[in-house]
Amino acid sequence: MTTAALDTARKPATMAQALGRALHDAMAEDPTVHVLGEDVGTLGGVFRITDGLTKKFGEDRCTDTPLAEAGILGTAVGMAMYGLRPVVEMQFDAFAYPAFEQLVSHVSRMRNRTRGAMPMPITIRVPYGGGIGGVEHHSDSSEAYYLATPGLHVVTPATVADAYGLLRAAIASDDPVVFLEPKRLYWSKADWSPDQPEEVAPIGRAVVRRQATGAGSPATLITYGPSVPVCMEAAEAARAEGWDLEVVDLRSLVPFDDETVCASVRRTGRAIVVHEAVGFGGPGGEIAARVTERCFHHLEAPVLRVAGFDIPYPPPMVERHHLPGVDRVLDAVARLQWESEWTEGRTG
């Protein structure tokens, strides 16, 4: 059995390893942390995130459940009622849907229902997003559903260090956290030593991944998860066109860090929200709307959105046309000049 995820000597680490290490450390520190899900035990999860946990902590701490997502989350609710801190793995984004009622009707509301008496310190890990050539139902970006559900925190890392830090923070949180793991960054690497984990990133704080330098026309790219590297690359490429882009990695969709986001947009006067989830009804609408409400007089152009098309996730062979890539971000940046009425003239 490989125990790569726990191999502390290895460096650079992948995001998958950092996640596994976060689970390991949380379980080691706190005996109330329990991991459960499909194939999380002997197999170590289909993405091997939980690899080695059952071996180290036993089947009672890291448990292969029957194949039933509502049952997994529903029993986790009961475990949380009894003082445990369950960390639930949903095997893929779309396979979290069977647990939707438990999530919305119970997990998100139990604290509120009981006037604070019954908190739900549950972490729900959901591998999400596309770009890995998965067949249908394996590439959904389902964050819009969680965003619109008060009582849940929704976080998603884009870096190896944040993967560790945010997962530790999620498990430590006394509130339920939907922890969205960008599948296609699982194998992304960074010089991160699991032995000196960076300070645990607090939930609710965005980070400016790239600061405007003052050389060129400024604008802010607001993004998260799998689109962060895309935006970093776009920002680099945009320099050639005379743009000076900031990139804000939200990390936490709920709670939303208005402060960091608005500070950047007020500096730059222009903003684009970039995400993989479908555009219509996706997180970008919320983000654009709240940025506009708060920064209207600083905006030189409307906040634009670059998102997945309003279609079911496409077949792998054409998924690249759906996913917002560098070119599509750059096209949007070009539209930020707002010299023409082109966008406005498009419909209606």
Partner: protein, 378 residues
């Protein structure tokens, strides 16, 4: 000797034995619901307990009547009465130890009350007041669950967690006949059986899911037969026979406590009132059915037994009635209070700590309330 062994011709390897064999026979429920009252076996049932159950039944019946009356007086928004089902409600509460947990559905206020929850607090939800009126940890009663069957996996998870912790705790979860059709019922029972969790499932089969009769809900010989499909025993019991229900639950709870795993109990009973005060039951069922069930009233059954044992006379009946009346009077009185809710509390329990967004929104509401009260003063 099997057919295969008899045959000389071919001897293929049988499929490898690849899982432990469980014997199905002991899991199967009886064809007839188990009964005690009115049978010779009733004689073995503890007298003190029977008397206690009787008091609770009378009180429970009165509680149901009072709560329904409160809806007519506008003191309660809605009440799903358990009139006719008191034997299940009371037996469920009394079959548990203090350290155990009860997982009620929206119809089971009475079970919560019989377990010790304050009768007014138990009605908080149905009053239009806060969603849960009691602290679930005080009497170990989970919030009344409105989404049907969703509380069953909670019970399993809690029981499982308690067992992992080495605590001697059993969870008893209530669900209706309609609720057994939900996927959550299935998943909960399966998890319970696979984990051998100390949990007991009590299906109150009261014949209807709102207007839908059992025949449109299931084609099973009885709901208790579902148990075998999960590898747990199924028990069928006369849900109007409080002694029988108590005994069956007591056995199941004991089995669970001793590490024997979960049990599914189906109690056959009848919802004498409409689904709720807002429902019109005449649209879907007739008086004659009701009459037949009136002749099988849980209170009468136990009354007859107690009288037969010379443990109850007219005076005892009057005393029980008076105690119930006193409870009802107190309830009426306390429900006359108009609850005062602080709208600002809306933001208090969404998260452990208010987000900046909720702080903003709380400020907004605060300002609105201030403006309102200033206008009120003017």
């Amino acid at each position: 000797m099997t057919v295969l062994e008899q045959s000389g011709a071919y001897r293929p390897t049988p499929p490898p034995a690849w899982r432990p064999r469980v014997d199905a026979a002991p899991l199967l429920p009886d064809e007839e619901p188990f009964r005690l009252l009115g049978t010779p076996a009733a004689a073995d049932f503890d007298s003190a307990l029977l008397a206690r159950l009787y008091q609770e039944l009378v009180r429970g019946r009165r509680y149901n009547a009072q709560a329904t009356a409160l809806t007519r007086q506008g003191r309660l928004a809605v009440y799903p009465s358990s009139t006719g089902q008191e034997a299940c409600q009371v037996a469920a509460a009394l079959a548990l130890q203090e350290r155990d947990w009860l997982f009620p559905s929206y119809r089971d206020t009475l079970a919560a009350v019989a377990r010790g929850v304050d009768p007014v607090q138990a009605l908080t939800l149905l009053r239009g007041d806060w969603h849960t009126g009691y602290d679930p940890y005080e009497h170990r009663v989970a919030p009344l669950s409105t989404p049907l069957a969703t509380q069953l996996p909670h019970a399993v998870g809690l029981a499982h967690a308690a067992r992992l912790k080495g605590d001697d705790v059993v969870a008893l979860a209530l669900v209706g006949d309609g609720g057994t059709s939900e996927g959550d019922f299935h998943e909960a029972l399966n998890f319970a059986a696979v984990w051998q969790a100390p949990v007991v499932f009590l299906v109150q089969n009261n014949g209807f899911a709102i207007s839908v009769p059992l025949a449109k809900q299931t084609a099973a010989p009885s709901l208790a037969y579902k148990a075998v499909g999960y590898g747990m025993p199924g028990r069928l019991v006369d849900g109007n026979d409080v002694a029988a229900v108590h005994q069956v639950l007591d056995e199941a709870v004991r089995r669970a406590r001793e590490g024997g795993g979960p049990t599914l109990v189906e109690a056959i009973t009848y919802r004498m009132d409409a689904h709720t005060n807002a429902d019109d039951a005449t649209r879907y069922r007739g008086e004659s059915e009701l009459d037949a069930w009136r002749a099988h009233d849980p209170i009468n059954l136990v009354e007859a037994e107690l009288k037969g044992r010379d443990l109850l006379d007219e005076q005892g009946i009057a005393e029980a009635r008076d105690a119930a009346e006193a409870m009802a009077a107190r309830l009426r009185e306390r429900m006359n209070d108009d609850p005062v809710l602080d709208p600002m509390e809306l933001f208090e329990h969404v998260y452990a700590e208010k987000t900046s967004q909720l702080r903003e929104q709380a400020e907004q509401l605060r300002a609105e309330l201030d403006a309102e009260s200033q206008e009120g003063e003017r």
